[in-house]
């Protein structure tokens, strides 16, 4: 994860490097649908499949940002649709708390929580496009590389 994130080209050719945690039951299938339906979205996102959005610990998000990811997207099933009944409710609490912690560092806009169901391939591509645009406006992740 760390090696991959830091190889993003610097300077003018810079493209955002977004890490997306997608839940196995909805969002990953949604991404799959976006693929088979050939909905276009920018290649700025690296998708990581997790079993549930509540699997995503705040530590993972902080580590991704620390190691140079420009944005982190956490995607799960809509509230009420969770495969594990209320996993996404827990995820919402966690991600919101992480956002508050990141707000102190000025990084809260680089974290996003979205609900994308398995049938929303179009929405997946829209979310990625929108998030990429936002990250482009924010610019590169301000973490300094330390030797």
């Amino acid at each position: 994860m760390s090696g991959e994130a830091s190889t993003a080209p610097k300077g003018n050719g810079w493209e955002p490097n977004i890490l997306a945690f997608c839940c196995n039951w909805c969002s990953y299938a949604g991404a799959d649908l976006a693929g088979v339906s050939r909905f276009q979205y920018p290649p700025t996102v690296k998708i990581l499949r997790v079993m549930c959005s509540s699997r995503v610990e705040p530590a993972f998000i902080l580590k991704a940002l620390k190691d140079g990811a420009d944005g982190v997207l956490v995607a799960g099933c809509h509230i009420g649709d969770c495969h594990y009944i209320d996993g996404n409710k827990n995820a919402e609490v966690r991600i919101n708390n992480t956002k508050k912690a990141l707000a102190k560092l000025g990084l809260d806009k680089r974290l996003r929580l979205e609900w994308i169901s398995a049938s929303e391939g179009l929405r997946f591509s829209e979310v990625i496009r929108d998030f990429t645009e936002e990250i482009k406006k924010l610019g590169q992740n301000p973490v300094k590389e330390v030797k």
Binding site: L105, G106, P142
Partner: protein, 324 residues
């Protein structure tokens, strides 16, 4: 730690320094400072542990290292916060209570109340400090062997303190107090809130018991100030079986080793507190507070404890509010 697992300071030193072995003993140590208290040769075991851990990978970090990651992340960012202007010679550093509240929301403790209470009490005794928006003091990363991260945090914080122009740094956290006093060379006075609270003039009239956090007690030798803050305000302290120099550890320091052994230690300490019959257990460290309250809110706990665990400044501020 020896109460609950086979660990020996002597074998740790032998394995590391004489045989040159990688040993997990240096990571299971709680750095509570009880061994150097007992040692007839006064071996500085804590410094040994701190040096030995430097640059190595910790065996186990609790909460998946979320606090370590947060400190590491903030150490790599340019801090934007500027010190408050004003001519106050006191600075108050709240520590990491905000992130404790955010990432330990299961523990059901209002950590932010420590900050508001401390400021209220300082106001009462006529101190109007600047609230310092520094980065983490770096205590946890230092004891987890991440000296590089600690150095980055330290450099930033030292610059920040210099710019703020304060002459006394007040902190309500025992760990921050230890770190600013011993691991930073600030050249200004560092005090813990408990050292300032003996002249509030409250009449509490309640039985309480006091847990000495290792960082405030054995590391810094502050045993009497928090007790005086309680007794001079009318509280009646019922000491536990082990107190002051011999106080048991709350089980976890610098967010390492949350396992069966450390939980056994925590239960032992809570049982001692229960045996005193006091209705309130007071401590001066936000980590001790988190760990005791974690045990209290555990779903499948073996035993339920019916006393409150609160921070000293929160306790005093609540009494002040109640008009006592």
């Amino acid at each position: 730690m020896r109460r609950v697992s086979k660990t020996s300071p002597r074998s740790s030193i032998y394995n590391a320094n004489v045989y040159g072995l990688d040993t997990k003993d240096i990571w299971t140590c709680l750095t509570c400072g009880l061994c150097p208290m007992e040692c007839p040769q006064q071996v500085d075991f804590l410094s040994f542990i701190k040096e030995e851990r430097e640059g190595k990978q910790p065996l186990e970090v609790a909460h998946l290292g979320v606090f370590t990651e947060l400190a590491d992340l903030s150490s790599k960012l340019d801090g934007t916060a500027k010190p408050e202007s004003g001519d106050s010679k006191y600075g108050y550093f709240p520590g990491c209570v905000d992130s404790l509240g955010l990432f330990l929301h299961d523990v059901k403790t209002d950590f932010g109340e420590i900050t508001t209470s401390s400021l209220k009490l300082l106001d009462k005794i006529g101190i109007k400090p600047k609230v310092l928006q520094m980065k983490c003091c770096g205590h946890d990363v230092l004891w987890q062997g991440k000296k590089d991260v600690f150095d980055r945090l330290k450099n930033y914080n030292k610059k920040y303190i210099k710019e703020s122009g304060i002459e006394t740094l007040v902190t309500s956290c025992a760990e921050c107090y230890r770190t600013f006093s011993k691991d930073y060379d600030l050249g200004i006075k560092v005090v813990h809130t408990s050292e300032l609270l003996d002249k509030l003039g409250l009449k509490i009239n309640a039985d309480v018991t006091y847990h000495d956090p290792c960082r405030l007690g054995r590391h810094m030798g502050v045993y009497d100030a928090p007790r005086k803050a309680l007794t001079s305000n009318g509280a009646n302290i019922k000491e536990m079986e082990h107190s002051k120099e011999n106080a048991l550890c709350c089980g976890v320091s610098s967010f390492m080793n949350c396992n069966e052994q450390t939980k056994a230690l925590r239960i032992a300490r809570m049982n001692e507190a229960e045996a005193t019959g006091a209705k309130t257990l007071i401590t001066t460290c936000s980590k001790c507070l988190a760990h005791f309250n974690c045990l209290k809110t555990e779903k499948d706990a073996v035993k339920k404890y019916d006393f409150d665990v609160v921070d000293l400044s929160v306790f005093l501020a609540r009494q002040l509010e109640a008009g006592k």
